[in-house]
Structure formats: structure tokens, C-alpha cells
Symmetry: C2
Subunit: 221 residues, 2 copies
């Protein structure tokens, strides 16, 4: 667990632990199946066990970590069934967020997305898969956040957190899939035409493609 560094203390330590673990999870610092312990996290982050346990429990609550038995905390290994369920939830939630966000998009917002997409493609061309994943995330949430429903966006984040670790582990196979590019293009077109249904459809398609790719990669494990 030395993939973590000490944190600075201003607000709640438990919240800090949660944030740091979340980022570590999304950036692929932990392997699926890896065991975490309250004490090791506490030591790495230089806090006592109480806030460490709080951060871990929050992640367990939202399904970003697993506790198969009373004394073991694991980074989840994504099963095909779990992936399918997350994909189903994501389709509902992200489709809705995207649909609602469309009306709130102005030219400058679209310009921001365009530059994000450009960065994504350049990262893809240079084989920088980690940056591909990062820009992809920014693109998606750049749209969702404009729906003006923070609780909805929070739920979506929780779903991403469940797939994050496995996604990172498989990212060369995943990020190399170029179908995502055309889906994002259709998002941008829909946004420009203010066609909410088209935007929703593009995101749903993107999620379906990602699900298929990940599902196939998972089967080979």
C-alpha cells in the first residue's frame, strides 16, 4: 500500500482518507483482489485507525471496496454479473443526466468539450492510455455536471468507482478501442443541435461499447 503518501490536515481526516483512496482507486494504484487493512492505510496516510476505518467503510458502503468476511477488505474483482449490473445502472443514470444537461449547454461549454476530446485523441495516438482514461472521464462528467443535479452526479461517480480498478488494470485493451471516439463525436453533434435524445443515445451507445469491450477483456482473465 505504499502507493499512498501522507495527507495534510485541515478538514475531516476521514474525508481526506476517503478522497485519497478514491483517487488511488480510480488511477489504478490498487490491483483488483488486493487486500487493504485499516492499519496499513492509517500508516501510509499517517493518521490513526479511526479516520482510516471511516474512509474505508465509506468506500465499502458504496461498493467501491468489498468486505467478503468480517476481517478482510478487498479491492473488488469485477465479475461479469457485476459489470453488467453497473452497465445497466450507468445507462439509466448517465442517459438521464446527459439528456437533462443538453438544454444547459452553451457554445463555450461545447468548446471545452471539444478541446477535451482533442486531448483524448492525441493521447490515444501517442499511446498514453492513462491520459486517455483521464480525459474520457473529464468528458463524461463535463456533460453530466451540467444537468444541475449533484445527487445524480454523485451516484454516477459511485458507479465509475466500482469499475475503475478493473478498468485501469485492463486499460491498454480498453482504451485502444476507438469506437469511443465516434460516440463522443455524436455527443458533440447532439449538443450543438440541442437534441437531448441524440445526446442520450450517444452516451448509451458509448456505455454499451465500453461494456462489451470490458466484458470481453474480463472473460480472458
Amino acid at each position: 500500500m505504499s502507493a499512498l503518501a501522507p495527507i495534510d490536515r485541515d478538514k475531516s481526516l476521514g474525508a481526506h482518507v476517503y478522497d485519497r483512496l478514491k483517487r488511488a482507486l480510480m488511477s489504478g494504484a490498487f490491483q483488483p483482489g488486493q487486500k487493504l487493512t485499516v492499519r496499513s492505510v492509517a500508516e501510509d496516510l499517517q493518521v490513526s485507525v479511526t479516520p482510516a476505518r471511516e474512509g474505508l467503510n465509506r468506500l465499502i458502503d458504496q461498493g467501491a471496496l468489498e468486505m467478503p468476511s468480517a476481517k478482510t477488505i478487498l479491492v473488488p474483482v469485477l465479475t461479469v454479473a457485476a459489470l453488467k449490473e453497473v452497465a445497466t445502472i450507468r445507462r439509466s443514470l448517465e442517459g438521464t443526466a446527459a439528456e437533462l444537461a443538453t438544454a444547459n449547454f452553451g457554445p463555450s461549454d461545447i468548446a471545452n468539450l471539444l478541446s477535451l476530446q482533442a486531448e483524448l485523441e492525441s493521447a490515444m495516438n501517442s499511446g498514453d492510455y492513462r491520459r486517455v482514461l483521464d480525459r474520457n472521464e473529464s468528458f463524461h462528467f463535463g456533460v453530466y455536471e451540467k444537468c444541475g443535479m449533484p445527487r445524480l452526479v454523485g451516484l454516477i461517480e459511485a458507479q465509475w468507482l466500482r469499475v475503475g480498478p478493473s478498468l485501469n488494470m485492463l486499460y491498454p485493451e480498453f482504451a485502444v478501442s476507438r469506437r469511443g471516439v465516434s460516440n463522443h463525436m455524436r455527443v458533440l453533434e447532439g449538443l450543438q443541435k440541442r437534441d437531448a435524445q441524440a445526446v442520450r443515445a450517444a452516451f448509451e451507445h458509448d456505455i454499451d461499447d465500453g461494456y462489451a469491450t470490458l466484458s470481453a477483456a474480463l472473460g480472458k482473465t
Copy 2:
């Protein structure tokens, strides 16, 4: 907070606290706006502050409780904006769960729902609003749980928990609305015909009706 009684100790105390608070919230034991404290919950449930705090924080995490400042925990007062957001999320999630559940329904499952609905209507006729709410909840989750996606059902539960306290406060005005009956009827018809889209539509309609009623009642506060 004397609306709570001591709990028995077998599994995790924090989990128990969470369960008890959840039930208390859904059954209307707390008023929206009411202040909760770690110590009072700990005392009522006869546990130390650590598991009490854990249970409270879990509820805060999923939005069933609020923490407007660093030292105050509140039962949320539902704003119109929050209600609208919850209704949007519920439409997505519950619509999807209902749609997916349809294929898994057999005759005995439908019979169970029918008797639940009969109990609901008899409770409504006798003016037992609390029982109306209870049977309504059982009806909804009786369908959703058959979709075979526990994570999805968990997300739905979290949404109900957000509306629960305010729902209970207003339940005479809310439960008296008879539009729910015809929506449930359409659910049952759709289930019998195995028409997933009809079932989804019926639930979405039910949620919309509930939103409208609650929204109106909320405005009068």
C-alpha cells in the same frame, strides 16, 4: 430521540445503528429539521459514540441525513428542488428495475402482489395511512427485487430514504391520493401480459403522481 429503544448485540453495532436509524427515518419517527447528535443516538441505543457515529455517517453519506455545518446533523427538510431531483433519479432507476423484473415474474409472484395491493386498499379505506405507506413500499420493492440486481435495488432504497421523513409527515394528504391505485393496477396488468414497457410506464406514472402530490403538499408548508 426517545423514539428509539436499545438494540441487541450480535453483529456489527455500527450496522445495527444504521438499520435502526433507517427504520426510524422511514417510519416517520423523526421530524424533518430535527437535530440528531452522536451522543444522544449512542445513549438511546446504548452503544458508545463510535458505532453511533458510524451509523449516522453512513446515512449522511447517502443523503438520508444532512450535515449543514461541522457540528450539526439534521433530518433533511425536503426542498422542491431536492424532491424533483429524487423523482428524476427514481424514474430512471425504478423504471429500469421494473422493466427488468417483468421477465422474472411467475403466477405466484403476481399473486403475492395482488394480496399486497388488497391490503393497501383496505388500509386506505380504513384510513390507516401508516399501513398504506408500508404496503405501498412492499409493493414497489416486491417488484424491483425481482430484477435480480441488488446494487440497483440498494440505490433505489437510498432514494426512498431521502423522501421518507417528509413523506411520513405529510402522509394523510399524500396517502389519500387514490391515483396510486390505478397505477398499481396497470403494473399488475403489465406483469400478467409480460409487457415490460407497460410495467415501466406504470411505475413512472406512479412516481410522477407521487411527485406532483408531494410537491403540492410541500408548497403549502
